[in-house]
Symmetry: D2
Subunit: 301 residues, 4 copies
């Protein structure tokens, strides 16, 4: 299938490559053009504008936040202008539910379809085409996008016809990860200070009740205090935490554990951990128990 692909950050590049490997024709656009050019070798065409990428009829976006999506949507060179009537926008980004609702409405007004299909997985998983995709939108749109989602993901989980619900499920999944990080961080801080072998403790967890990817990935990161290079940066994690809390506010659902994570993340940002992986907020538990701060992150170049 011929598809536009907008947003070639660490996640998007791997996804675009998965599409190419799957035999799809990709017309790539990125704000910094070099990142799009770098995909030519793998067989991608490069678009000069979001509109041009969208002319493919189906366009996927993988952008860092709501503002970045809005920046490519509108205007004469924007995605919406380029997408034909009957075209389909598949949004893979993690966005606020209400942004997703607005995007769906605007596309509908232009006679276009919209599917929210945020993904779980870090850059290495994206590169391997093994992401988990949560999808919500009209059934026909999902069917049409299916071959593309199958190319980037190992599994697709339809969660309904309202795109905002996929957005909320994704935010809730990210919240679950932060809860696991905080729990691991507190437990490791205590058992470590009490003299227990922390690696052994983690083994007990991840080979029994917590034999799950979330605990293996973040348990290891906390154990080793290794938060660079980031798979997902702390400011983006803080953004998702904020969106989750805002959803709680809208629906009047108190979320004390998410609030706790919020304050941890702010403390980590105030410490200067903004260039590190989001799991670095877990280091605060060690610091509150008396450990020194993390060494300053290498400047990213």
């Amino acid at each position: 299938m011929r598809v536009g692909f907008i947003g070639l950050g660490s996640m998007g590049r791997g996804m675009a490559e998965s599409l190419l490997r799957g035999g799809h024709e990709v017309v790539a656009w990125n704000r910094t053009r070099e990142r799009a050019e770098a995909l030519r070798g793998a067989g991608a065409a490069v678009a000069a504008t979001p509109a041009e990428a969208a002319r493919a009829g189906v366009v996927l976006t993988m952008l860092s936040d709501d503002r970045a999506v809005e920046a490519v949507e509108g205007g004469p060179d924007g995605l919406r202008a380029g997408l034909p009537r009957g075209g389909l926008h598949v949004s893979l980004s993690t966005l606020a539910p209400e942004t997703v609702t607005r995007l769906a409405r605007e596309h509908a007004a232009a006679g276009q379809d919209f599917l929210a299909a945020p993904v779980f997985g870090r850059p290495d998983v994206a590169a391997a085409g093994k992401l988990n995709v949560v999808a919500a939108g009209p059934k026909a749109a999902l069917e049409r996008a299916r071959p593309l989602l199958d190319a980037v993901g190992q599994r697709v989980f339809p969660v309904g016809e309202d795109p905002a619900q996929a957005a909320l499920v994704k935010l809730a999944g990210n919240f679950m990860l932060t809860a696991a990080i905080e729990a691991l961080a507190e437990a490791l801080a205590l058992v470590g200070k009490a003299g227990v072998d922390r690696a052994r403790f983690l083994e007990v967890l991840t080979e029994t009740l917590f034999a799950a990817p979330a605990y293996r990935t973040y348990g290891r990161a906390l154990l080793e205090g290794r938060f660079a290079p980031p798979g997902f940066t702390l400011p983006l994690g803080a953004k998702d935490n904020r969106l989750f809390l805002q959803a709680g506010e809208r629906h009047q659902v108190p979320l004390p554990l998410a609030s706790l994570v919020r304050d941890r993340m702010l403390a980590a940002l105030a410490r200067g951990y903004g260039g590190l992986d989001w799991a670095a907020f877990g280091h605060l538990a060690e610091e509150e128990a008396g450990a020194p701060p993390l060494p300053p992150a290498e400047p990213r170049g």
Copy 2:
């Protein structure tokens, strides 16, 4: 091997049966004698006192809390009096690290060995002999106890020679469970109130990043609001939470997530959920979002 077994509650009975199935001779004692008598059919002998059970030379205890262990340890009819010099006490209960340290010291003073071997798993898992055992104590004691631990558990995790460390690892593991329960509870409360299919949401979690027993077991309980009959009661869960917080206090490690769980558990107890499974504290997240309290628990008979 001939072994004494003290404490035939919902966990202990399954473990004693596993020992009998494994070909061991069991001399059982229980505070309410009927529970010991009930094991006769499966081949157990019944002791009149803890001392008599301990005369087997190796004695296992599975009791609900520190006080219950202390109640069987001392005095002329107590475990310590009956256990021969060179005998071994294997404590399977979840106890405070300092209680474990004291027990080890008292047994050492009597020329006896002590092994802390708390277990992860609920009554059905105990009945199936599939518990996970965390063991700490002198190597020789561990080797001696190994055939017994293999009979009750699917896997044994040695964590060092200081028995107190097994106690702390067990408390930390229980803390991890409560953190998962709280996280699931908040997420389910929000996505449910926002109209997402909660069962589908749980499926997304437990088939991807959270594909672990902890999330499947407690996710289902929360989804169905089913907290009876209890696998592990709330007051016992609150006791373990308290011991974990006390360990944090002793080692000067702040544990805000454990503190949050503490307050949830107290609220659940104040609501009258003391006869329910400990996961019932997770229902508080729904109630704070506007849901009605759980119906009063059936009296246990």
Copy 3:
């Protein structure tokens, strides 16, 4: 002095009356005109538009939130259009610091002055002209507004020349009140359940270390469980809490106590306490200790 006054809610009316009592000429405007008409008897003129009120040259606004201020500022009938060059807008509302910054910039662009002067005090205090005023803005603007502020307040606290700082001080003051409410609520819930005479306990506090208006006012409300009629409604309190947390986010300052209050307020809103005084969130402490919810609030008519 001739002044426009925009916003005649329970706070604004008392302030406008204080101005009239102080000998000032008031040109009043309110979205629901009846509330402006009601002031005619006290000597006020009634404006047809915000612009008309602003033509007085100095205009005061007392509105419920940022959106309400923005709604009267712009457009051909708006405050800014009516205010002459060299005119002064004194904003008495509790607003986000960045809203205040933007208002100041927009007035500056129109050759007008802007002063942020949010007030502490409830409707009865406003009616008595005894508010405490926190003011920030250019010195000349403050001097010009001084007679008006003296008419509505018992005391004016200048806090600098950047209007956003008055906004933040006001939000922080409201946060301090919520912290006092939560502290009182927890302490009263515990001592009450333990059998201590709660009124006596409150007396001990308010006649010794906590001999301050905040504790007397809210202590009594909590003691009596009396949250209607509201002096300041819960949704407005939740709005201020949100603005305070957002300021924490912008400046990377974790605010765990404000987060705790956030979750309390959401739980109170989910319980249906939205028509009550904001101190009603304090009742959650009692409910978590086992007390029944508050009776449904009378519909406000």
Copy 4:
């Protein structure tokens, strides 16, 4: 009146001096005898044992914790042994309610009276005889102790006949102070980082809604980051926080704000602030916002 006085720490010495100034005869005992000898100049007699001090018929104790009180109570040289039948023990310390209940019972069994009369105020206030006293116990005992309490305090608040209630009121009062410290700390951290004049902010609070000693004392300490010499040390504050939380546990009252303070205090202890005033836990709010830790405390000599 002739009275024994046991416990001449920074608080007790001031109180004993107040008694002497009030014309009472004081027989002093202290674990480190020098501190008792130092009172001879002011007219006190020095006892060789707690029993000897208690022989006066009325004995006051001002000790740092439950254990210290238990250490002077029992044994042949202990307070209880020396106190005549019909004698009275007035406990001025801050103790667990259940300790107070046990003391009352033990004195009753010995035909003696017991009054719990914990005090609010720091060493300078004790020296000035201006403490606030919360008293509970049999009416006759209170009447008998009244002249003594009037000598040490500016005001006595009877709160009932059950001594445990005075203990709980005192713990709750201390909790209120920690809540005020945390609130001040968070607010100061934010307004300070945002560029507001912190001293001015504090003035706004303490001259309006928070015009109370608690806010003036601790606001100034936080403003100046001055936590030495301690008026009341952090470990003692942490002890009182623990007792308050334990009371919450016993009565099934969740206390999330007290839990937050708990974790702050543990972090402060882990930072090495154990020799500082308890208000030093408030510095954590600054540190989480990016400020450096407090300089190491001078060793106390």
